[in-house]
Every structure is written in structure tokens, then in C-alpha cells.
Amino acid sequence: MNATIRVGTSTCGLAAGAEAVLSAIEIYVHRRQLPVKIQRTGCLGACHREPLVEVIIDGSSALYGPVTPERVTPLMDYHFGAGGRGVSRDWVISRRRDKSDYPFLARQLKVTTQLCGIIDPYSLDDYLANGGYQAFREALKMPPERVIEIVTESRLRGRGGAGFPTGRKWEITRKQPRTPKFIICNADEGDPGAFMNRTVIEGDPHRVLEGMLIAAWAIGASKGYIYVRAEYPLAVRALRRAIEQAKEYGVTGRNILGSGMDFEFVIKEGAGAFVCGEETALMHSIEGKRGMPRMRPPYPAEAGLWGYPTNINNVETYASVPSIILNGPSWYANLGTERSGGTKAFSLTGAVNHSGLVEVPMGMTVRELVYDIGGGCKGGRELKAVQLGGPSGGCMPASLLDTRIDYEDLRAIGVIVGSGGIVVVDETTCIVDFARFFLSFTQDESCGKCVPCRVGTRKILNMLTNITRAKAAPADLDRLASLCETVHRTSLCGLGHTAPNPVLTTMRYFKDEYLAHVVDKRCPAGVCTLYGF
């Protein structure tokens, strides 16, 4: 018998109590001397059923969740001992290897997260056994220009939010005459409600390193910085371990695999500033300064870290690259739409039945994502809005749910793909208060360098607060709209530029609710009574 038990021990699993479950399993296995391999893995994405335990015996698999320490003994008895008494059908998530019998997982298409929850993130052998570093070896056999061509053909676009074509960015950096060149991996996932990068790094850190190595080869970079949030201690630990292993394995250092390429990784821990997700602010932070953005141009590709050409991509962008090299650019391009190829990971949260990390092909509609994968609203309540892209994104109403997930399609309705946070909002949330929440966040995180953002976000926040406290007049709505427009147009960096989005989109699609507050002095959702209506 060849048996493996996998327990998801990412941050989300641990918070749900995976450690206690794991030790209960270890005790059981140890007591009966079972020939079972126990594996700590990353997160499969089905966070709503954590802690997850997968039992694989001779190629057949069963996935359970939520598993509590009390449920361990009946489960283990069922698989390794006397019968299945005490195992409830409710615990079973899936009985198939490919998980095609659980809609949350069946409708997904996993590329960057394909090994999350499957391999032990601390084991290089696991990664190598699943084709690890093959793509890098392939890439080293090609001239760098060919690698860039492949990435361009794949229609991969920046997954951090702006959606700039990755191949073109690499090409611009490659063509700069100055050396040394740097690459940076932006893992400063500051959007509240987003955890795609955390899942990928905690579950499969080598994939990110491999993507960066391929980028370094294509661009001719000699040093790669990974800027990761200090709020993600497990992710930092996984990366440190992976970098050590990569060094031992010989894919970093001098003259890597005989190619003549020199490369090393450096981890920089962020210190809790949302604005550092902006590329110029991030570079200042790496240089050990206050993380404030600067004017662009010059773009980082021309003058980045310490003035040298620098390529910055998001974790997910780099993590997509190995699969593109292995499977070919047309495979990746055909997964998505005519303008953007491949898949995008989203963290689906809020008032939705099945929250968690989902990866879907570009071009899927938001409705499919929320209903078919997410299982609709909690408690059978009515969906009011879907918020995409965090504090920089916008709110779409239920009537627009058939919009495709695509950079241009979403931008046309005022919403952005953003880094990939999706928050489902039901009728119990007041939309004005929701917009106010995002503004209080951006106001708090504004670095204060430029006036429109420093003063403007505060003024917007004050106006929204007045609306939620029945202190606003109808004319204030026009003032609010024009102020939002000003902040949007005149701010220095992306933070200020996008900060009014939550207000602009909610005013566009939920005008009634704003009017109810300012004209009738009434909050339809009943939330603002908290503030003394």
C-alpha cells in the first residue's frame, strides 16, 4: 500500500486549526505504525472548508474538510482500519483525484496554483518531481530574445493590476544599454481582501523563483529582489528556505548550469505601507528610504533601482512563466481572450458561500465565478454588488455580472481587474458605508507627498462620513463627484489616481442609495443607524 496524507498548513489552514489536526494524525499513524507518508502542503484554495485533509491511497484520493481533531480517528479508521462508522458524508469534499465532483474546484483552471496543496512547499524534491526547473533549463537553451518572443506571444499581461504586456516590458528592459540590471518581484500584497500572492508563495515558492530566473535570463539581470510583506511570516520563511535550496541545487550563483549567467536572490521585507505596492515607491523602500512614489517617466525599465534598468513584475506574473515555456505560448494564449492570455487567480471573499482562492481563465464571466464557483450569496440573501480590485477597484451591480473578466471589458464599466481581490456584497451592506471604508483605508495609507491625494482623500472621506451621518445635502453629491474627478486626474501615483474609484463606481451604479441617504435621510441597508440616524 502506498499511502499519503496531505494536510494544508498555509496561514489559512493554521488559523482554522490545521496544526491540531496534523498532530492527531501523526499520533494515530505512529501508534499503529502505519506505512503512511504525512505531507504538509500549501492551500488548495478551498479555504471555506479548512482544515483540509487529503488521503491518497494507491492513486485514489479523498479530500475532507473541515476536519477537526475529533474527526481524525473515525476518518483514519475508515481508511486504515475497521470500517467507516462515524464518518459523515458532510465531511467529504471530493472523492476524485481531479476534484471534478466538487464544483468549487472543478470549474477552475490552475496554472500558477497548480501545485499549491499538492506538494510540500519546503521540499525541493517535490517540486523537481513535478517538473520543477525544467522550464528554466529549456529557457537557458534558447537565446534570451526567443524567451521574450514566447512571453509576448503568450499574451501574458501584468497580474499586479495594470495589465501591461509582460513581454514588452522585458524587451524594453533588455534593450537598455546600462548594466547591471535588476529584476524585482512585487509580493507586497497590500490590498485588503487579497491573498493570491500569499497562497502561491506559501504553497509553491520555487515556481516564483523559477519564473524570476527565466526573466533574469531573458533580460540579462544579475540580481533579483523579492519585496514581500512582513505581515506574511510564513511566506517569508518559505521563500528563504526555497532560496537556500535553489543555491544548493545550483540554479543561483555564478555561471548557472554552465550558461554563463550569474544571478542571486535578495529578500526584502516590507514594513507595512500600502503605497509600497506602487513600483517607484517600492524601489525607494528597497533602497532603504521612505516608500514614496516619484514622477514617471523615467519608468523603472529605464531608470529603476539606484538608477539602473529594472524590471518589476507581480508574483503571479512570474509564476505563470514556467508553464508558458513548458507548454508553449499558443497553449497559454488560447486559455484566455483575444487580448489577454492565460489565467488569473482571484481571492473570492465576503458574503459568498464558497470563499477561497480561485484561478480561472481570462474571459470567464463574473457571474460564473460568483455563482458556479463561489456558490452564490451566504444564507440565500440577495447579491447587491461585486467589488473587484480592492481599494483601487470598483463596485459592479448585479445587473452587470455577465461582464467578462478581461482588462478592457472591466475597465469599460469603470471596474478594474486589479490584483485580484473579489468581495461579494449582499443586501446587508450599505454601499455608501462600503465606499467610505475603502476611502478610510486609502486616506490612511496616502503617503502625503502630493496634495491631491493627501488633502483630497481626506475631503472625500469627510464628505462620505457626512452622508452616512445624515449631515449632507443633495448638492454635496455633485461636489463629491467633481472632487473625485480632480483627485483621479491630478494625483502623482496609482494610489491617489485610483482612490476615488470605489466612490465613482458606487455613485454611478447605486445612485438611489446615495439619494436615500441625502434626501430621505435613510439608510436602506440599515447600517448607518449605527452612526446616529
Binding site: C12, C47, P192, A271, G272, E287
Partner: protein
Amino acid sequence: MAPQASTLRKHIYQGDPLTAPPPPELAAILDRYRGQPDALITVLEEIQSHYGYLPEQPLRYTARELGFPLSRVYGVATFYNLFHFNPPGRYIVRVCKGTACHVNLSAEILAHLKEKLGINEDQTTPDGLFTLQTVACMGACSLAPVLVINDVTYGRMTPEKAWEALSALRTEAAAASEEERP
């Protein structure tokens, strides 16, 4: 205005504290980063993880030993949310106010803890046990609302469950100090 200016000066002048070399535990941190101007944030992170916060003296030493103006050290330290200038309590309680937690009513948890502990955000209880903070997002959104105590994440919280968790820690701490007594 004159008395104010004098209190201000009194605050800044504390004799000359830097005639001596830095204490060994601090020197161990600083020595590793000499000649690396980009390491300032990392140095501050290490100082904070050693002392639990950023005390004034070590920051002065950092400026002198690594060759930064003190203004630059404080400029960086005050910019980032992670750094604190007051000693924290034994347990740092952080209530997540990310989007998913907000939608799932984390504000009520914060209000409940504030009331029960009798302190505001970024304050420490007089017994030095709990420091209450908020955090933008811990990335454990599917378990919202989330509470983090030191490095342990508590998912699917309610105001009552949050208070229970704190009470349990208080009992634990009391038992521990009981044992320490002869």
C-alpha cells in the same frame, strides 16, 4: 512660549549618551549591516524584534554607527506602520480591518475589545498584558473576521469568542506568574 521651548530642549538633551560604544546586543545587529545603506529598514526590523519596539537610544546608535542623519532614521521609522515607539504588552492583539473582515463585522469585535480592555487602538493595558492594534489585512480573508494575537491567527471570530480568547490568555499569564513566585 518660552517654557515650552525649554521643555522641548530638555527632552532632546540627555547628556551625551553616545560616548560609549553600542551595547553588545545592538552592536551584533549593526555590525552585520555596515556599509549597506539600503539595509536601514532591515536594521530597524531587527532592532524592533529584539527590543519589542524602537527605543530612542538604539536609533541614535543606528544613525551614528551606520552614518545616517538621525532625521533619516526617524523619517523611515515613522513612515512604516510596522514600527512602534512604545513598549508593547505581552500579547499584541491585532484586529483585522480588511475588506472581508469589515463586511463580516470586524468593527464590532474591535469595539467590544476596546470596551472590555478599557483602552483604545495602539494602547496597552495598565497591567502590560495586552496591546490593541488594527491591521489592514492578514490575507486570511476566507476565515474572516480574523484576530491575530502575537503570531497566532484566530479565524471566524465573534466579539464574544475574541474576548474568550483574550481571557484564556490572561488566565494563562496569571498562572505563569504564579509559578515564578517562590
